[in-house]
Symmetry: C2
Subunit: 238 residues, 2 copies
């Protein structure tokens, strides 16, 4: 069963393997075959150190041989249009969402192919929080926005898989149905590590750890505004 890998061995990840995996992931489905994505490869200590604070100094950034920033990219396609007597029209929200989905599809294809090749990966969701700062570090032009980041390398740990909700609660037949929340979340809430997590955070319930601490209203609203500003800065919205 797959797990995220946050500690990497010293074994180097060759450019040829990396490029081969990336090229294969570009075979994934995409909208109109426009391939509206780019991948920025970070190997240098200098750039890792520059990125680290914008990923809240998660140790995977400096600990992994390679950091990949998967970006929604309508810049290249627009440059092609301009060079071919065509007027690009991709500075809008729909194009951003479409490129975001296609970028994520490539990222996950890469993740699965990398795991199949014996590598370990970890996603960094912090990319959406700090899109503007990351864009500056990576010198992204207009219509390019970082969507997600994957650290990759050979694993130096074998963590236990984390829990998942019973799949039946996430699959709906024909129309969306209300689920039995108590039954669905009871197994997760009963896990010793979750009980400890509630205790460590001085909360009454596990849900409060999320709403009051990990993904709280103040941060969510501030980072929503910040992400929107990043989309403006990169020219996707007005």
């Amino acid at each position: 069963m797959r797990v995220s890998i946050r500690k990497y061995s010293d074994k180097p990840l060759s450019d040829s393997l990396l490029n081969d995996l990336l090229e294969k992931s570009f075979r994934a489905s995409n909208t109109g075959n426009m391939q509206t994505y780019s991948v920025i490869v970070t190997r240098s200590e200098e750039k890792k150190k520059a990125l680290a604070p914008f990923h809240f100094n998660q140790p995977m950034i400096c600990g992994a041989p390679v950091v990949l920033t998967f970006c929604a990219d309508f810049y290249r396609f627009s440059q092609w249009c301009k060079a071919r007597n065509a007027e690009p029209c991709y500075n809008n929200f729909l194009s951003f969402i479409s490129a975001t989905i296609d970028t994520t599809i490539v990222a996950q294809t890469f993740a699965m192919l990398a795991e199949e090749a014996g590598l370990g990966i970890c996603y960094l969701g912090t990319t959406n929080y700090m899109a503007s700062e990351i864009s500056e570090v990576l010198q992204l032009p207009e219509l390019v926005v970082p969507i997600t980041t994957i650290t990759v390398g050979y694993p130096a740990e074998t963590p236990e898989p984390t829990d998942r909700l019973p799949a039946s609660g996430l699959i709906h037949q024909e129309t969306y149905k209300e689920v039995d929340i108590d039954a669905l979340y009871a197994p997760k809430e009963a896990l010793p590590e979750m009980k400890q997590f509630v205790k460590d955070n001085n909360k009454e319930t596990l849900a409060q750890v999320f709403t009051d601490i990990r993904y709280n209203k103040t941060n969510n609203e501030a980072f929503s505004k910040k992400l929107w500003e990043a989309l403006k800065q990169q020219g996707f919205v007005k």
Copy 2:
């Protein structure tokens, strides 16, 4: 080499295989292990017919044994919070983007596992155009938005793989670099089917087929507004 499948055989796709593949795809990485996604399974002729016009009557909807609508879902998580004396705070843009990425990761994991199991899949990008109408057909509650749709079944065709840009143009070392647009797009533009495509559409260049017809400014701007209204309707943004 993988290809999208748009024609499906009569061989039925069992619930047990489908549920097994979905359950496995829920193992994919996700933000804070909140699992902010749901999958709506459409098998009934009635619901396929109801969905079809909102996917511009693409024949895969009624031709596939199963249509899967992958939805960003902060409703279930919010219901859990409310039931646990916690105040959910996920009606914002950041949460929408985070759930969109996690939903897409699950969709692509499913796609790859399905292909490995001998099934064929096709993505429908129309989901983002008609999110509001699709939400009504599938009876999605607040904080649930359809992100992408996959049709799935056993293949009844073996199409040729479509072209891709040279991978080197999509991979940037350390920082984003300008690429040689002419060199990058020349192989695509030289394909006989692309030349025919330009001719059939009475255009001068392939790029014009995209900007003037397939993904044009009028549609992109209208559907951007419509998608934003759908996010409002589902309560993700104000």
